[in-house]
């Protein structure tokens, strides 16, 4: 069982370039999330999804876009990359247990992005 996988692991972008961070989970979880983590800090929610076709903004959505066409995949798009988007990006998923959402999240290994 692979869990949550993310690609790429590392990426360097120039200011103004665009890229898509890929995230796939094989646990059939309905909830998926994108976070960013700046050095020495916790996780800030960028976008999340409660199921295929449904997405919503988190705390820091500006400069990012997402889509959720399948249960498994939740790509994050960066348009016009800026130095402020230099960070480590984590994708996560969760599900309900016995019909209750306990917010137990399973994380991918992260993508380390540098914008120069």
């Amino acid at each position: 069982n692979a869990g949550v996988t993310q690609t790429p692991k590392f990426r360097i972008l120039k200011i103004g370039q665009s890229m898509t961070l890929q995230c796939t989970q094989d646990m059939n979880h309905n909830y998926m999330y994108w976070y960013r983590q700046d050095p020495g800090m916790g996780l800030k929610l960028i976008y999340y999804s409660v199921g295929a076709g449904i997405t919503d903004k988190g705390e820091v959505p500006n400069g990012y876009n997402v889509s959720r066409s399948t249960t498994e995949d939740f790509p994050l798009r960066l348009e016009l990359a800026a130095p402020s988007q230099t960070s480590v990006y984590f994708c996560a998923s969760s599900t309900t247990t016995g019909g209750t959402q306990y917010n137990e999240q399973f994380f991918g290994p992260g993508t380390r992005l540098t914008v120069l």
């Binding site: 020495g40 916790g42 917010n103 290994p109």
Partner: protein
């Protein structure tokens, strides 16, 4: 906006010592999770507490959820170098925001041999 404050931010101790990390908020949470994150990796779930006053033990780690479900603590007994890492607490939102969590900024623990 729900906020979670963790203290201390950094903690450096010797192997064998005990320690407690705190996670506090003015908001009530439906559940609270503790995660451990090692350098270069994603956070890994340690425990979930749901009921006010609940205490859970995981080997040398003891987790407590406050009676009012606004705060939590993590106590480690006889810390070992393998306990080194970033400890994050996360509170689950209610109702229409169910499925969303608010994360604290973490406690970086270093256990020296």
């Amino acid at each position: 906006t729900q906020l979670l404050e963790q203290s201390p931010q950094f903690l450096s101790i010797q192997e064998g010592e005990n320690l407690t990390v705190y996670c506090n908020s003015s908001s009530v949470f439906s559940s609270l999770q503790w995660y451990r994150q090692e350098p270069g990796e994603g956070p890994v779930l340690l425990v979930t507490v749901v009921t006010g006053g609940e205490v859970k033990k995981l080997k040398r780690l003891t987790f407590q959820f406050g009676d009012a479900r606004k705060d939590s603590s993590l106590h480690i007994t006889a810390a070992q170098p393998g306990d080194t890492g970033l400890y994050l607490c996360a509170g689950g939102a209610y109702d229409t925001n169910a499925g969303k969590s608010t994360f604290g900024d973490g406690t970086t623990l270093t256990v020296k041999p």
